[in-house]
Amino acid sequence: MDGAAGTALLLAAAAMVGLRGGGMLLAGTLRPDHPFIRWAAAVSQAVLAAFVVLAVIAPAGGLAGVPLPARLAALGTGLLVHTRSGGRLLPSLGAGLAALLLARAVL
């Protein structure tokens, strides 16, 4: 394994322990309805929502080669099936990915 790549991996892994452990230590004495916990939960959910939006409107890597309408079609189809199926995840996921493949082939 390349030395710099291996060093970066180990340092980043140690930093992840710091992030997760720091959060757990910080939360150890707080109740779930504490304002700080509620703020942290809101930030986490907002990060997740931003992650989804960025993956659709400004993706990096292999997804960047997929046309925007295909990404929107996949998201829209997945959410539509999710709503219509009473919140079933697996069919919604399958339908969304099938829509992506279909739209990518057509566009």
């Binding site: 970066a8 150890g28 997740l48 929502a49 992650f51 996921l93």
Partner: protein, 227 residues
Amino acid sequence: MRPGLLTALGAPAVAMGATFLAFGAAVREAGLPLPWALGASLLIYGMPGQLVLLQFAAGGNGAAAPAVLGAVAANARFLPMAVALTPWLGGGRWARFLALPFIAITPWAAAMQALPGLAPPARLPWFLGFALASWSLAGVATAAGHALMPLLDPALLAALLFANPLYFALLLAAGMGVPASRRAVVAGALAAPVGLLLPPAWTLLGAGLLGGTVAFLLGRRGEDGRG
């Protein structure tokens, strides 16, 4: 542990399996070996940070510090996620630290939905069952992606890469009935374009901090107005 493990083997397994399969393939494409791919998947265990690190490692520019800081920034959400999750884990003061390596988006999102509905003694076993299944799957899928990369066509790879965002979108949609969640999701989505104004490593964290803080403050203002 069994209920959590079984939950993890449904839709989360498909989403995570697809994403880690794609990551393993990308590592192989970058010319890095399987141990590096497995180390990144199992020790970092957060795809944005993994991708930042891979970008650095593939470039081979020799300086580790920017890559580590970039990965930390990309995965900095682990801190607020751990803060939010820990009170729900139950268990003893130290037993709950068994959950530490597994705090990542998929187990966190599933746990935040499931744990409040479980009796406190059942919460940590549920999380560990879910987390161990997801984590093991991540390792297996990474190895498979690394091995199968030469056989994957670009369309399939793109679909695999989209599985994770789509899965998270579905999880978020499931929580939209709760006002606090709805506020956070909408504010985070609206803040995403603002995050694009920041350096790439800070885009996600910046958008989340902005959107989450606005959502939290709006919720507090609503409570004050009623109170």
